[in-house]
Symmetry: C2
DNA sequence: TAAAAAAACTAACACTTGTTAGTTTCCATG
DNA sequence: CATGGAAACTAACAAGTGTTAGTTTTTTTA
């Protein structure tokens, strides 16, 4: 296990605070107190508050993008791809509970990187939609508006960060499987 | 149609701003500018910023509570009750897109009313879970952990406020029906 | 152990925050 | 037209904001 740098520790603690109160409501003095130092000392390790948010969100967004690229490139059928998307969300959410909160709730406070983030998100949703449309065309899944279907599945997956922490003894494979059953069986002909 | 008081107008405009940036990131000067007046003038109509948030969130939470009570009291079966819950969320979300954002994202900034809000939410979720458990016991729905089931359905319904505004020509009955098909067919034996 | 580098500190800055006090303007009612 | 109340205004407050400068302490390296 690689040892955590002070900078990484600050970012991890910041993500935790951001989850509880949101980016705007967390002050640099709050963050410093949680680190056991003074606010000014944070700046030996990080560039700015904004930069912390950017680091948290962009790294996660890129992780999702990469996962989607791999799923697209695989030669599974539509349902198989959907199952792999579920696994992707379960895995990333479980590894980064706090960061997922920022990704979901504080992306609008990105400044220079806002457009880039939105591009990644739009691309991700378009790829997702395309998988559903392919499945509809091939008769693999039922013919309901793909928009509603994607909305339903994606909002569930995007909220995993809220729910995973409540289950003390979480089995990720079991969770993926339950979600698959709930989310897919409903659209599987 | 009842005419809107200035106070109601301020709360409506505030909810819109809260949706875009979150409660903490919206200043009273932002709100005043959106109203076309100076910040100090707001205080002729409202008690405090905190009070605006409280009004938005608590009225909505109570609306959900009331809806759930009626559904509970009805003598429909489990699936029927779930369908009525879906309709309840679609209806309230559509009538109060902006307020739903605060309910979902800014409840932690409630101060005196935080505990009361949490009680309403917990009660709502317990009632929801009980409906699912009854359905499982009677064999009406599949035997998957009700926690996962409730999480999946409820997060979808709670995110409707994000999605409804994107559809220009929204037909509420059709939306409820599509959601019912997606959310229920997956758990209907 | 001395020197260098890393990481903490104090003090302060310029600006923004929610809110209050006191005053002026607008407008419907007598 | 006079008047009283509603609703706007200006000015200011005390506290809190992110961040910088300069200094001291701690840790690592040679």
């Amino acid at each position: 296990m690689k040892i955590e740098t002070r900078q990484e520790e600050i970012i991890r603690v910041a993500a935790k605070l951001f989850k509880e109160k949101g980016y705007s409501a967390v002050t640099m003095r709050d963050l410093a107190k949680a680190m056991g130092i003074k606010a000014a000392s944070l700046y030996n390790h990080i560039k700015s508050k904004q930069d912390i948010l950017k680091t948290i969100i962009i790294s996660l967004a890129e992780e999702f993008t990469e996962g989607m690229l791999q799923i697209q490139a695989s030669n599974e059928n539509c349902i198989g791809k959907l199952n792999r998307i579920i696994e992707l969300h379960v895995k990333i959410s479980n590894q980064n509970i706090y960061g997922m909160a920022s990704l979901n709730n504080d992306w609008m406070h990105l400044e220079e990187k806002l457009e880039y983030y939105q591009q990644l998100r739009d691309d991700y949703e378009n790829d997702f939609r395309k998988i559903l449309e392919t499945g509809i065309a091939s008769g693999e899944i039922i013919n309901i508006k793909p928009e509603v279907m994607m909305f339903s599945i994606l909002t569930t997956l995007r909220s995993l960060y809220l729910w995973i922490p409540k289950k003390e003894d979480i089995n990720l494979d079991e969770l993926s499987h339950s979600l698959s059953q709930i989310l897919i069986k409903g659209i599987n002909k």
